[in-house]
């Protein structure tokens, strides 16, 4: 028998998903742009608005939109646009710190638990318990324990995200552990720690990244709902939820009050979803 292919010719059936390009071009790019716009608004927006979000302006009670106050003023005579822009910062702070922290704790616990069967069962039951509390009820309960405020919103978000990420990573690890390349590493005599570090974890993290994007928008929701319940970010600090809560009381007077936070939330949610979808697609799901 003669070898037909002496030299490696152009690879046949090569399916190279050009991930970064696909991601950055389609939905992912739009998503990044949407989130980027909001982040930018939060970062530089307050510099462009002449009003201090905390300043209670004399004789400016519940003014409608005008040239001076593009979105009007609220019940405490503060410029709504200034508060909206400053509020974005607070929400982004919550999203970008609490969610990763929750994710980190969840992932650490979820991954560690897979090492030992008894531990695994215990951790899984614990996650079940945490998941079993409806999010808002958990929020009300925790806020009652630690008192309302930004930090309590963060704690609530962390608690909500822990089981979500814990379960996700655990499932991914269990699946990856069955992969042939893990067996391949075992068969050359690699240690457990080596296998976990170089093979299992890096390949389990992708669903986590997708979930991270989705959870970012969940955090914005939780903040809003907690503000409406009066247990969110404490006044006078502005947040999307706080601005929305005020706006809801004056919808009949000026529907535009509510438009600001709603548009921002929608843009954020859409942006994060698109990113998650694109990440999903890039994964080949």
């Amino acid at each position: 028998m003669t070898a037909v292919l002496e030299d490696p010719v152009e690879p046949v059936e090569v399916a190279v998903p050009a991930r970064p390009r696909v991601f950055a071009r389609g939905k992912g790019l739009i998503g990044l742009v949407l989130v980027g716009v909001v982040v930018l608004a939060g970062l530089v927006g307050p510099l462009l608005v002449p009003w201090d979000p905390y300043a209670q302006l004399p004789d400016a009670n519940l003014l409608g939109p005008s040239g001076a106050h593009l979105l009007g003023t609220d019940d405490l005579n503060r410029d709504v646009l200034a508060r909206l822009l400053a509020g974005i910062r607070v929400d982004l702070l919550i999203s970008f710190t609490a969610v990763p922290v929750g994710a980190l704790i969840g992932c650490a616990v979820g991954a560690l638990a897979t090492v030992n069967n008894v531990l695994d069962v215990a951790v899984q039951r614990l996650f079940d318990v945490l998941l079993a509390f409806p999010q808002l009820i958990l929020a009300i309960g925790l806020a009652a324990v630690i008192g309302p405020g930004t930090s309590s919103v963060m704690v609530v978000v962390v608690f909500i995200e822990i089981p979500v990420f814990g379960r996700l990573l655990r499932a991914a690890v269990l699946k990856v552990r069955e992969a042939q390349y893990v067996t391949a590493a075992e068969v050359v005599g690699a240690r457990k720690a080596h296998v976990l570090r170089t093979h299992v974890l890096p390949n389990s993290l992708e669903p986590v990244l997708v979930q991270l994007a989705l959870s970012m928008s969940v955090a914005v929701f939780i903040e809003g709902a907690m503000s409406v319940l009066g247990i969110g970010v404490s006044p006078p600090e502005p947040s999307l939820g706080a601005v929305l809560k005020t706006a809801l009381g004056y919808l009949d007077l000026n529907p535009l009050f509510a438009a600001g936070p709603l548009v921002v939330t929608a843009v954020l949610v859409l942006g994060f979803q698109l990113i998650a979808q694109a990440a999903n697609a890039a994964r080949g799901a």
């Binding site: 405490l76 009066g230 247990i231 006078p236 009949d252």
Partner: protein
């Protein structure tokens, strides 16, 4: 309305019988608190079901007969002889007698019920019932606010009193019989045909619990309820503008918005600083923007109808930033950041807190807002645990002035939330209380002294006298209320 004078404006149509009035309230009943709490649904139930012995007129502090037809002092104020109305029946059908008065007053003094006027009730050393329609009260010493007690204590049926706490039965002699309570849902009442004051026009009353204030406003705007209690001030204003209904301030049943001050907190122990705080408050703005003008700014707790009201004294703390700053300068040392507690879920208080923070910042006092949930707020109020300032409402100043200083917890001369005590204030409070009569020259002098003490001490800075308001559709007329905000629908009708 008991008398035409106090009937709300607009009651013009001729009364006619029939129909069930639909009411909406934003808070549900807490049966165990029936005699201590004064939330909207409790005061609705008490007003519909129960009667008191006397009832104050809403303009002047003058008691009118209810279940008592006559009363007179003896022994220089240490004895009160009361004659009761005859032929009055409880909703259970049982005849009302002097024994029921004794039972009700005794129950009220029981610490378990923890009635607000327990201090006054405890001065009653003996209750004699010489005849079914006669009651004699023996007092340890004369008190100026005995009639407040008789206005406040609901006459309850001794046979069913045990079931009040469970919310299963409320039996009184009032215009409406209590039928049922479904927690978080509704309360139903039907007409008491045997009511001593005449058969009510309404067939019944249905009270719905609508916890969301905005939904409550929507319900009354859409006509689903004819009367709503607990609608926000701005919502009420907007609803009124839309037409078809009125927001009626409950005049005579005034509330006071105030900033409480813990005088043992660092910095706040100096009366100069407390005065500076009082000067710094923008009371006009709070009344105008938060209460939408439903009230007026004050420096003292007394409403304008109170015998203690003194315009000159009341004008003492008008907003004066310069004065506040100079007082602070006199104090010298820089103030640490002062915590300000408020009930976090109460939008009105949250707004007041933010305005106060802003006002104080202007004169150079840094304030840190601390929202606490309502339960914890009450606990801290009772336990005098507020670390610095707090904002909330108080009442009782609409009654005999001495009632405030002996009963209301923030003012109690012996022990109050502010940790304030001064022999002069204690003496002035005691002096005003132990008067046999609530009005007259002696009383006026005593009240003036009391007011001066309050202003000097300033352990709480009053913001304004404000009103609860009920939003009533034009179709429901003849709505009345007591000084304790109890709803009286005995003469109400659906036009």
């Amino acid at each position: 309305a008991v008398d035409a004078q106090t009937a709300p404006a607009g009651a013009s149509a001729a009364p006619k019988s029939g129909g069930v009035a639909e009411l909406g309230v934003n808070l549900d009943l807490v049966p165990a608190n029936l005699f201590t709490n004064s939330n909207v649904s409790i005061t609705t139930v008490v007003g519909l079901v129960y009667d008191s012995l006397v009832r104050y007129d809403r303009q002047k502090l003058e008691a009118k007969p209810r279940l008592a037809t006559a009363w007179e002092q003896a022994d220089g104020g240490s004895t009160l002889n009361i004659t009761l109305r005859k032929g009055v029946k409880f909703h259970s059908g049982r005849e009302f007698t002097s024994a029921d008065v004794k039972f009700s007053l005794t129950s009220y003094a029981d610490p378990k019920w923890n009635g607000q006027l327990a201090g006054t009730a405890k001065t009653i050393t003996a209750i004699e019932t010489p005849a079914p329609d006669k009651v004699v009260l023996k007092l340890a010493h004369p008190v100026s606010n005995l009639l407040d007690l008789l206005d406040t204590v609901p006459i309850i049926d001794s046979e069913t009193a045990a079931e009040i706490g469970t919310g299963k039965k409320f039996v009184g002699t009032g215009a409406f019989k209590f039928d049922s309570w479904r927690p978080n849902t509704d309360l139903t009442f039907s007409r008491n045909d045997d009511y001593w004051g005449g058969k009510p026009y309404l067939d019944g009353v249905h009270v719905r619990v609508i916890p969301d204030a905005q939904s409550l406003a929507a319900a009354v705007k859409s006509g689903q309820v004819q009367l709503a209690r607990g609608v926000g001030y701005r919502d009420a204003e907007a609803a009124e503008a839309a037409g078809g209904l009125k927001a009626i301030p409950l005049e005579g049943a005034e509330l006071q918005a105030y900033v409480g001050i813990n005088v043992s907190a660092p910095g706040l122990d100096d009366p100069k600083v407390r005065h500076a705080i009082a000067y710094a408050l923008d009371k006009e703005r709070i009344v105008k923007e938060v209460y939408r003008g439903k009230g007026y700014p004050v420096s003292l707790p007394w409403p304008r109808t109170s015998p203690a009201y003194d315009q000159e004294l009341d004008n003492r703390f008008r907003r004066d930033v310069a004065k506040a700053k100079s007082l602070l300068a006199e104090h010298g040392a820089a103030l640490p950041e002062v915590p300000l507690a408020y009930p976090g879920t109460d939008g009105v208080q949250a707004n007041i807190a933010q305005i106060v923070q802003n006002n104080l910042a202007e004169v150079g006092i840094a304030v840190k807002l601390e929202p606490v949930d309502s339960t914890q707020f009450i606990k801290q109020l009772i336990g005098a645990q507020f670390p610095g300032l707090w904002v909330t409402n108080h009442s009782w100043a609409q009654f005999t002035p001495s009632t405030l200083t002996v009963s209301a917890y923030p003012f109690n001369a012996k022990r109050n939330s502010s940790h304030f005590s001064s022999p002069a204030y204690t003496a002035a409070a005691d002096n005003a209380w132990k008067l046999p009569d609530a009005t007259g020259a002696a009383a006026t002098a005593a009240y003036k002294e009391l007011s001066n003490q309050l202003l000097d001490g300033t352990f709480l800075a009053e913001i304004g006298v404000v009103f609860e308001q009920v939003v009533v559709r034009d179709g429901l007329q003849g709505v009345d209320w007591t000084r304790r905000r109890e709803l009286d629908l005995s003469k109400a009708f659906l036009a």
